[in-house]
Symmetry: C2
Subunit: 348 residues, 2 copies
């Protein structure tokens, strides 16, 4: 992507020069941001609202492969993934800090691309970059982002608030990010074996975008507020539907019945999963990286959301003793297992 453009060595700017270069055009978007980049710490004033903090780290070779992830998308995704955690608290993200470690293999132009993606996501979510650290890495790129948000205490939604009888809901559709990754890996393999062959991504824009440029569901918390529904528990889907349902159930001390035929799967995801001989349900359950919001609501709120195209009702919470089960399309009940992507196992 950058082969034909100029290359400026990172060392030509130095650490302070690079930080200045990257942060010079930052404009503060939030009243709560008193002081951003440029001192020992940022200063934030929420005037009585509660502060919400979340942090995530992305590592080259573990979470992304530079062979098929454009840096701008990577920057966008790194920010989205963090903001998603703030929305999952039913809060509004306001600030982020960004720490980056990168080898000298990366040029200043490459880091600019990465930052361009981060700025784009910040613009979209009206978030300020208020600090960070930029350093060298022995090899590869590591991105660590901390997101800070605010909420009224009474609006916050934890993972632990679900009760027996609550309905289980999810935004958007699932499995697309995983199938998109399979497609990227297939085309990379073909490219390595036959460098002349152009990658075949035709008609698969949606699943590629789900993988490369996931959108944190900024729209869901205000939508629920507008519908006058306060979720009883909420989590974002980073590791896969199964893993997140287990988190909600365990922390809420309830069981769950998930109905396979209710899981929302996009036709493109479905078709491409079949092409890879993958079960689309398994992609939704264990693929992860969809960054949709999974939440529970009281039964009495059913009518308020049932017609909403952004939300699917996929199950209900039971008593803890009944366990966490998938009710298959055939009507059989089988215990749900988290086989989600596990960063610590993936590298072996």
């Amino acid at each position: 992507m950058l082969e034909n453009s100029e290359r400026t060595e990172l060392s030509s700017l130095g650490e302070f020069g690079l930080i200045k270069h990257l942060t010079q055009f930052i404009e503060i978007k939030n009243e709560s941001t008193i002081k951003g980049v440029g001192d020992d710490a940022a200063v934030i004033d929420y005037k009585g609202n509660q502060t919400v903090i979340s942090t995530d780290m992305l590592v080259e070779g573990i979470h992304f492969d530079m062979a098929y992830v454009p840096l701008k998308h990577l920057g966008y995704k790194a920010v989205s993934v963090n903001l998603s955690d703030i929305y999952a608290m039913n809060a509004t993200p306001k600030q982020i800090t960004v720490s980056i470690a990168m080898s000298n293999r990366y040029s200043v132009e490459a880091i600019e691309e990465l930052y361009a993606g981060m700025f784009l996501a910040c613009e979209k979510h009206k978030v300020d970059i208020v600090g960070g650290d930029t350093t060298t890495n022995v090899s590869g790129l590591v991105i660590s982002i901390t997101a800070i948000g605010e909420a009224k205490s009474e609006d916050l939604v934890y993972r632990s608030g679900a009760s027996e009888g609550d309905l289980l809901c999810v935004s958007g559709d699932l499995g697309g990010a995983y199938v998109g990754l399979q497609l990227l890996e297939r085309e990379k393999k073909i490219f390595i074996e036959s460098p002349g062959v152009q990658p075949d991504f035709d008609g698969n824009d949606y699943i590629l975008e789900r993988q490369l440029k996931p959108e944190a569901r900024k729209d869901i918390p205000p939508l629920l507020k507008q519908l006058e529904v306060k979720p009883t528990s909420m989590i974002d889907i980073s590791d896969g539907l199964a893993s997140e349902i287990i988190h909600l159930s365990t922390q809420s001390k309830v069981g769950c019945n998930l109905y396979e035929d209710k899981i929302p799967i996009d036709p493109q995801t479905y078709t491409m999963a079949r092409e890879f001989n993958l079960d689309p349900t398994v992609c939704a359950l264990s693929g992860g990286e969809d960054y949709e919001l999974l939440f529970t609501i009281k039964q009495e709120d059913f009518l308020k959301i049932k017609a909403n195209p952004n939300i699917s009702i996929i199950g209900h919470m039971t008593d803890a003793k009944s366990g966490i089960n998938l009710i298959t399309k055939g009507g059989t009940s089988t215990p749900l297992k988290a086989q989600g992507w596990d960063a610590l196992l993936k590298n072996e």
Copy 2:
């Protein structure tokens, strides 16, 4: 250090298992910590005080060398370095988030050691660990910490508040961390060449501790409050005295005269610097990692601090046109240059 003990593979616990294992004994110390580890985000409530946020990343092979840094010390230092930035705002650190990427070369016991050091620093500074991310790295260890603190708006001290005539002050003494590093590197080299030879650290505890286990100056903000002195500007010394003076002067739009004979240097630092044929003043100016606080005060506060053994007055601020100068022991004025440790150049 861990050779004789049991080794548990990271993969045997998995990511969630590891997080649970490491965070199971965390006890919340601060009223402002509403919710710590275990949800999508931590929840913090400062009840009207301002929030202060700082972040730092430490990379194996760049910021530390596992050959001579015990993991427990590394954990302690990683936390201290971040808290130092919060104190440099004249604020009180309250929470941290910790993200770690590590290769499978590290065992669970090794990460426990790292966490033991972080817990120790948190205990000492009454700080809560409220979240984080634990992931695999292709090689080496990367630690990213975000520190969150609080302060009353009127107590905050920025880098930009110094005026002409203000006195320049520093806590503790300088150059020790750099000389300690030289000693560690010398002994490592000897060890590599002659593995049988035991390292010779006799009588150098102080400079070794300055390098391996630096203490963030938690005591200085309350001391200044007690002395009824509010600094006009403040910064912590991570890159070296010269670099930090330039930050304060530039951001405050003033000049500075620094007096070489006033720079506080411990006798052990002085002696060992000489043994390495290093100029002790240069170690203080450019060595960095001392994590002392550098600040300016109004002249009228001179009497309040002049007898305090924790604080040295080392210069005064001038008009911007006079520049930033070192007045040597011989009485010559020479422009001060930042030759501080630069992470981006060090790896070349």
